[in-house]
C-alpha cells in the first residue's frame, strides 16, 4: 500500500485541498469518485463497440449473405463487396460476448459502482488503497486497449466463442482467429483479471475495515452487501480463469499438452498427447458461472437500493435479502457443471450439478418476491432509475424461469447451445444487468457529475429499450426450441429451418431499434455532464450516507468529520417520524425504537 494514499485516506485535515494538477486529478487519480467515472466512461465506450457488433451480426442472420453498406464501411476486407465473411461473423460473436460480459458488465458495472458507493455509503474517506485502486483502473484500461487492438490483427480477432474452448482456440491452423488474435485476447484477459483482483481485494478490505462508527454489517445498504459478496466471489474464482488462460498460453506457445491430445489437422498429426479439453471447460466454468453472479449481484444491490428509496418504503426482508445473496454466492461456486452436461463428463456429475443448479432458483425466487413486496403499498416515485429497476425484476423473472429448463440435465440435451440458451442468458444476466447498470447511472448521476440527467429522455430510453428487449429475446426462445443452433453464420444450408427465417428478421429489427435508441441515452449522458440541470444535495430524498456529502466533489468526501450512523439504511416512511425518510446519520429521537430487528 502506498504511504501517500494512506495518509490521504485518513487525513483529518481534509478541508483544504492539496494542489492537484490536471494529470493527478483526471488521469492518474487516486480518488475513488474519479476512478468510478473513469470505469464508467471506459465501460461505455466498450459497450458501444459491443452493441455495434451485435447489430452487425444480427443483420447477417436476418439477411444472410446480402451486401450491406454498413459491413463494407466497418469491416473492410472482412466484407468484400459488403458481404460478411464467415470467419468475421464468429469473431464478432466472440468479441461481443467477451466485451459485454467482462468489459461492460463486470468492469463497467462493478468497477463503477463499487468504487463510487463503497466509500461513500460506508462512510470512508476513500478506498483502503487509493494507489491500488488507480492501478486497477489502468490495468483495465490497458486490457481494453489490447482487446481493441486485437480487432485489427491480420488473420482476424479471436473467433472461438467467448468461452474459447480448446483445441479450436489453441490451434492457429483450426481457425484464423486462433493466431495472433487469440494471443492478444489471452493477454488482454490476463491483465483484466489482475485488474479485477486488485479491485476486488480493495473492496473487501475497505468494507471490512473502513466502516464509520455505528455502521454495523446489518446496517449496511444492500448495495454494499452485494458489492462485498461479489468481490469475494471474484477473488475466489477469477484466479482459476487466470490459470486456465496461462495453461492455454503454454499449450499454444510452449508445446505443453494440458488441454490437447490426439489431434490430426490439415493432413498432419500434432505431437500433443494426454491432455483434455474437458479440463479446460471445468476450469473455465469454475469462473464462468460465478462470473454471471459477479455480473448480476451488483445489479441486484443497486436495484434493491433504488426500489426502496423510490417506493419510499424499506426494502422488504432485509435479512432475507442478505441471506439469499450469501446463498446465491455459495451455490454459484458449485454449479459450473451445468454448462457441461453433454461435454462427455460422467453422467453422474450431471445429476449432481442438476441438483445444485436448481437449488439456486430458491434464493432467486425469494429475492424476486421481496422486490415485488417492496412495491406493495409504496408511494412509487417513477424516476427513470425506478423504471429500470422494475424492468430489471421483470426480465430477471422472465429469463430466470427458463433456467429451470436449462439447469435440468435431461432437458438440456435438446436445447444445449441453441438459441434458447442465448435468449435465456441475455434476459437473465445481459439485459437485467444492463438495466441494473442504467438504473444505477440514472440514480447516482447527480452524485457523479453534480447534475441531473434529463428525465424525459430517460423515460423514452427506458420504454423503447424495454419493448425491444422483449421483442428480441422472447421470440428467440421459440427458434431455440425448434432446434436452431447458435453461432451459425447462416441457416440457409438447412431448409429445415427455413420457417424460422421470418422470426429472425423480426428479432433483428427489434435489435436494431433497441441498439439505435441507446444513442438517446448517450446524448443524455454526455450532454448532461455540461448542460444538465444542477443537482441538489439529496435529489431523491434517500437515507444513505453518500447524499450527506457536498455536491461538489472533494478529496476525502466530507468537509468536516465523517458522519456517525445511528440506524439502518431503509428508514423510509418510518411511522415514528413525520418525514418519509430518515437519513442514517440522524440519531434516534427520545423514545424512538430501531425498527428492523
Amino acid at each position: 500500500m502506498s504511504a501517500h494514499a494512506d495518509t490521504h485516506a485518513h487525513d483529518d485535515d481534509h478541508g483544504h485541498h492539496h494542489k492537484e494538477t490536471f494529470v493527478t486529478k483526471y488521469i492518474f487519480s487516486q480518488d475513488h469518485k474519479m476512478i468510478a467515472k473513469q470505469y464508467l466512461i471506459t465501460g461505455t465506450i466498450m459497450g458501444v463497440i459491443g452493441v455495434l457488433m451485435s447489430m452487425m451480426f444480427r443483420m447477417q442472420i436476418a439477411w444472410p449473405e446480402e451486401p450491406n453498406v454498413l459491413f463494407e464501411a466497418l469491416l473492410g476486407k472482412w466484407a468484400p463487396d459488403g458481404v460478411m465473411d464467415a470467419d468475421i461473423y464468429l469473431a464478432l460473436v466472440t468479441i461481443h460476448g467477451t466485451i459485454m460480459v467482462f468489459f461492460v458488465l463486470t468492469a463497467g458495472l462493478s468497477g463503477t459502482f463499487s468504487n463510487l458507493l463503497i466509500p461513500l455509503q460506508i462512510g470512508a474517506r476513500d478506498m483502503a488503497s487509493g494507489f491500488l485502486n488507480m492501478v486497477s483502473y489502468w490495468l483495465f484500461f490497458l486490457s481494453s486497449i489490447i482487446m481493441v487492438i486485437s480487432l485489427f490483427v491480420e488473420a482476424g480477432p479471436a473467433a472461438a466463442g467467448w468461452t474459447i474452448y480448446p483445441p479450436l482456440s489453441a490451434l492457429p491452423m483450426a481457425q484464423g482467429g486462433s493466431g495472433m488474435g487469440m494471443t492478444l485476447w489471452l493477454v488482454s484477459m490476463a491483465i483484466f483479471i489482475a485488474s479485477s483482483l486488485l479491485g476486488s481485494l480493495n473492496y473487501v478490505v475497505t468494507v471490512i475495515n473502513l466502516r464509520t462508527k455505528g455502521m454495523s454489517m446489518t446496517r449496511l445498504p444492500l448495495t454494499i452487501w452485494a458489492f462485498f459478496v461479489t468481490a469475494v466471489i471474484g477473488v475466489v474464482s477469477f484466479p482459476v480463469l487466470l490459470s486456465a488462460a496461462l495453461l492455454l498460453i503454454m499449450d499454444r506457445s510452449f508445446g505443453t499438452s494440458f488441454f490437447l491430445s490426439d489431434i490430426f489437422i490439415q493432413g498432419e498429426v500434432l505431437h500433443y498427447q494426454g491432455g483434455s479439453p474437458v479440463l479446460f471447460e471445468h476450469l473455465f466454468w469454475f469462473l464462468g458461472h460465478p462470473e454471471v453472479y459477479i455480473v448480476i449481484l451488483p445489479a441486484m444491490g443497486l436495484v434493491s437500493e433504488i426500489m426502496a428509496s423510490n417506493s419510499r418504503k424499506p426494502i422488504f426482508g432485509y435479512r432475507a435479502m442478505i441471506t439469499s445473496i450469501l446463498a446465491i454466492a455459495f451455490l454459484s461456486t458449485i454449479v459450473w457443471g451445468h454448462h457441461m452436461f453433454i461435454s462427455g463428463m460422467n453422467p453422474f456429475l450431471g445429476s449432481v450439478f442438476t441438483f445444485t443448479t436448481l437449488l439456486i432458483a430458491i434464493p432467486s425466487a425469494v429475492k424476486a418476491f421481496n422486490w415485488i413486496t417492496t412495491l406493495w403499498k409504496g408511494n412509487l416515485q417513477m424516476n427513470p432509475a425506478m423504471l429500470f429497476s422494475i424492468g430489471f425484476v421483470s426480465t430477471f423473472i422472465t429469463g430466470g424461469l427458463t433456467g429451470i429448463i436449462l439447469g435440468d440435465s435431461a432437458l438440456d440435451i435438446n436445447v444445449h447451445d441453441t438459441y434458447f440458451v442465448v435468449a435465456h442468458f441475455h434476459l437473465v444476466m445481459g439485459i437485467s444487468a444492463l438495466y441494473g447498470m442504467f438504473a444505477g447511472i440514472y440514480h447516482w448521476y447527480p452524485k457523479m457529475f453534480g447534475r441531473m440527467l434529463n428525465k424525459n429522455l430517460g423515460y423514452i430510453h427506458f420504454w423503447i429499450t424495454a419493448i425491444c428487449a422483449y421483442g428480441v429475446f422472447f421470440p428467440m426462445h421459440f427458434i431455440g426450441m425448434a432446434g436452431l443452433p447458435r453461432r451459425y453464420y447462416t441457416n440457409s444450408n438447412f431448409p429445415l429451418f427455413d420457417d424460422l427465417a421470418n422470426v429472425n428478421v423480426i428479432i433483428t429489427i427489434f435489435a436494431l431499434v433497441g441498439g439505435v435508441v441507446q444513442l438517446i441515452y448517450l446524448y443524455n449522458f454526455f450532454s448532461s455532464i455540461f448542460y444538465g440541470k444542477e443537482a441538489t444535495q439529496n435529489p431523491w430524498k434517500a437515507t444513505t450516507l453518500e447524499w450527506t456529502t457536498p455536491v461538489e466533489h472533494i478529496h476525502g468526501n466530507w468537509p468536516g468529520d465523517i458522519p456517525h450512523v445511528y440506524r439502518w439504511a431503509y428508514d423510509y416512511s418510518n411511522p415514528q417520524h413525520d418525514v418519509d425518510f430518515v437519513p442514517q446519520n440522524v440519531p434516534l429521537k427520545d423514545g424512538e425504537k430501531e425498527l428492523h430487528h
Binding site: D262, I263, G317, T373, M382, I390, I404, A410, N493, L496
Partner: protein
C-alpha cells in the same frame, strides 16, 4: 438495399423522438424543472406499466399462436423422446403460470401504488411467514422437478448392454461427419488419429492389424434400423464438435483424445415421419417459403431453390471453425430389412484400403 432503408428509417425515428422530447420539455413549467419525477410522471408511467404488462402478455400469445408449432415438443422419433418432451411441457406450464402471476403482481403494483404527493407509504419491513411461504413453495416444486429430471436423465444416460445395442461410431472433423459401423462382430476396431494414413485411404485411423476392424464399415450417411437400440461412440480428430440430433432429443460432444457416448432407440422411420400430419404441414409451409424465396433468384436468371423433403439430420452444435454452419449428415431411419440391404452394399474396411 433493405439495410440502407432500415438505417434511414431508424434515423427518422430518432429525429422524431428528439422532437417529442423537446415538446415534453417545453410543455413543462419552468419551476418544476427539477428532473425528479412529479405526480404527472408517476401517473403516466404507472399507466405505461399496465400497458407493458399487456405487451408482455400479447407478445407471449402472439409467439404461441404464430410460432407455437415450431418447438420440438411432440413428434420425437426416439424411445426416450416422449419422456423429455413431457418433462419439458411440465416445466413450461410451471414457468408459464409463474411468469403470468409474478409479472402481473410486479406491474400491477407499479401501477396501483404510483406516487402521489403527500401520501405516505406503509412501513412494512419484514414478515417471516411470507418469507417462509415463498421459500417453501419453490422448494417443493423444485424437489418434484429435480426428482423427475434426474430420473429421466439417469434413464437416458445409462446404457443397457443386455439389449445388445448396435454400436456405431460418429466421427467428427472440420467440417463433416463420418459414421463407422462395427460390422458383424458388433465391435469397433481400435482406432487412433495417429494411425491415419490418407494415402491408403485409412481416413479414420483404424488399426489395420486389429481383427475387429476388418469388417468395420465407414459411411457418410447414417442409416439406423427402426426399433433397434443404437449406442453411438463419438470421436473427433481436430477440435470440439457436438453431435446434435434434435428429432431424437439426442446430443453429445465429440472430444479429441477421448471417446464419448450416447444411446437411443429410433422409433419412427423416415418414411413414416414424413407422413405425419404435423410434418406434412411443416414441409408444405417450408416449400411455400422456398417458392417465394426463389422468385428473386429466378428473376436474376439463377436456379430456383430445391424442393425440400424432410430428413432427420445430425448437426454440429459446438463452434468448430469457419464452416461450422454447414457441418451436417443425413440420418435415415428404415426397417431392419432395408437397413440390412443397405449395409450389405457398403465396403468393409479391409476391402476399402488402397495397397
Amino acid at each position: 438495399m433493405t439495410t440502407l432503408l432500415t438505417i434511414i428509417v431508424l434515423i427518422f425515428i430518432l429525429i422524431a423522438i428528439w422532437q417529442m422530447v423537446k415538446i415534453f420539455d417545453l410543455a413543462q413549467a419552468k419551476s418544476e424543472n427539477s428532473q425528479v419525477a412529479n405526480d404527472k410522471d408517476n401517473t403516466l408511467n404507472g399507466y405505461l406499466m399496465m400497458g407493458f404488462l399487456a405487451f408482455i402478455y400479447i407478445i407471449t400469445i402472439v409467439c404461441f399462436v404464430k410460432w407455437g408449432d415450431l418447438p420440438l415438443m411432440s413428434n420425437s422419433a426416439s424411445d426416450h423422446g416422449p419422456t423429455i418432451d413431457n418433462l419439458m411441457i411440465i416445466s413450461m406450464v410451471l414457468i408459464f403460470v409463474t411468469q403470468t402471476i409474478t409479472q402481473f403482481l410486479l406491474h400491477y403494483f407499479a401501477f396501483k401504488y404510483k406516487g402521489e404527493k403527500g401520501r405516505k407509504a406503509l412501513f412494512f419491513a419484514d414478515n417471516n411467514r411470507l418469507e417462509f411461504i415463498w421459500t417453501i413453495i419453490p422448494v417443493i416444486v423444485l424437489a418434484g422437478l429435480i426428482i423427475y429430471g434426474l430420473n429421466t436423465w439417469i434413464n437416458i444416460t445409462s446404457v443397457d448392454e443386455t439389449k445388445d445395442p448396435l454400436i456405431v461410431e460418429l466421427y467428427a472433423q472440420q467440417f463433416n461427419w463420418k459414421a463407422r459401423y462395427s460390422g458383424a462382430d458388433n465391435t469397433l476396431g481400435k482406432a487412433n488419429v495417429r494411425l491415419i494414413d490418407i494415402d491408403r485411404a485409412n481416413i479414420l485411423g483404424l488399426d489395420e492389424a486389429d481383427p475387429n476392424a476388418q469388417d468395420d464399415v465407414i459411411t457418410t450417411e447414417l442409416h439406423l434400423p427402426v426399433g433397434k437400440p443404437v449406442l453411438f461412440k463419438m470421436r473427433s480428430q481436430d477440435v470440439l464438435h457436438s453431435a446434435y440430433m434434435p428429432h431424437f432429443r439426442a446430443q453429445m460432444n465429440c472430444v479429441p483424445g477421448m471417446i464419448t457416448q450416447f444411446g437411443f432407440t429410433p422409433t419412427i422411420t423416415t418414411v413414416d415421419m414424413r407422413a405425419t400430419p404435423q410434418m406434412v404441414d411443416k414441409v408444405a409451409n417450408i416449400n411455400k417459403i422456398r417458392v417465394e424465396n426463389s422468385k428473386p433468384l429466378l428473376a436474376k436468371g439463377e436456379e430456383a431453390l430445391e424442393r425440400y423433403e424432410f430428413n432427420y439430420l445430425l448437426l454440429c452444435n459446438k463452434i468448430c471453425g469457419k464452416s461450422h454452419y454447414n457441418m451436417q449428415m443425413k440420418i435415415i431411419v428404415e426397417t431392419q430389412e432395408e437397413y440390412d440391404a443397405w449395409i450389405k452394399e457398403q465396403k468393409v474396411f479391409k476391402n476399402s484400403l488402397i495397397n
